[in-house]
Amino acid sequence: MDHTEDTAALEPDPDARLMLAARAGDEEAFRALFRKHAPRLVGYADRFFRNRAVAEEVVQEIFLRVHRARGGYEPRARFTTWLYTIASRVCLNELRRRRSRPEDGLAQASAEAAPDPGTIPGAEAALAGRELEGVVQRCLDRLPEHQRLALVLTRFGEHAYAEAGELLGVSEAAVKSLVFRAASAVQQALAEAGADVPGAGGPR
């Protein structure tokens, strides 16, 4: 497909300008991109690994990849679209690598992330923000892996369903189904925890 409007639709993107400078060899521009995007990427990577130390390692790897790929960078899409595609690939590859090497396993991190299933408040209790977050996070931690990953890619990586499908090696329709099941499980968990009242999510 040939979309001639692609370049015309590009808005001035300061990140794209920094990345073009980095492509031309400006390491300060590259560092500026790291400082700007690494913190949020740690949050993103942590959704995959549920372990901050691992997330920080992975984010460093992501930026090394960005640096190695700089020569091929073209500001065709938003810079963050490019960045998060690399980020998601690195996260998924690292996740697969760790799954295939149990000594690097992440089971412990997941266990730490869900320390107190006994304290889920009863249906009568109004859920405070932190408790609500606990309910949602524990639910995500227990989702089947593909459901969880489809949700993470589409909600936190801002990938369209089709992109998430490419990253996961499944169809767009499968992503739709996975995301639905994941959201449905969270809805159920909220209902069981007594948070099934309008606006329970609170303004954010």
Partner: protein, 155 residues
């Protein structure tokens, strides 16, 4: 009447994510207009997605930038060593590197100008040298770039 909602349930999150093509979207919306159960489900899913989006994000520790700076320095040193190794490779006949290889390739490819065996050997040697230069690592990057290019097309 049986509830026709089930085939629509899986569309609801996609509807909220604005991920349905126009035709499917109007079909789901038409169904929603007449199905209280699906409207209720839609609201529940909307709240669930809002709660997911509202999860706090893990912030990096204070050492991240310094740790990266150290890795980045190693990376650059490695890259520089690679270039130096390549320049200092024991093949003086190929000292012109890319240009010589390109010329040799042209000689190989242009019909009617039969290349000597020496040219073919030179190309083969050069290609081998190139493949030493972390090309394997680059292949993974190329995959990234392909994915990114296709993203750009959807732009």
């Amino acid at each position: 009447m049986t509830h026709a909602g089930d085939p629509f349930r899986e569309e609801l999150v996609a509807l909220l994510d604005d991920a349905l093509p126009a035709e499917a979207r109007s079909r789901v919306e038409a169904h929603l207009a007449g199905c209280a159960a699906c409207r209720q489900e839609l609201e529940g899913l909307r709240r669930a997605l809002r709660a997911i989006d509202g999860l706090p994000a893990t912030a990096p520790g204070p050492g991240l930038e310094a740790a990266f700076e150290a890795r980045f320095a190693r990376e650059r040193a490695r890259g520089l060593r690679g270039v130096l190794r390549w320049l200092a490779r024991p093949a003086p006949a190929l000292a012109l590197g890319g240009a010589a290889a390109a010329l040799a390739l042209v000689l190989v490819l242009v019909p009617g100008r039969g290349p000597s065996a020496g040219d073919e050997l030179a190309v083969a040697q050069h290609l081998e040298l190139v493949s030493d230069l972390e090309v394997l690592e680059q292949l993974e990057l190329l995959e990234d770039l392909e994915a990114i290019e296709s993203l750009g097309e959807e732009g």
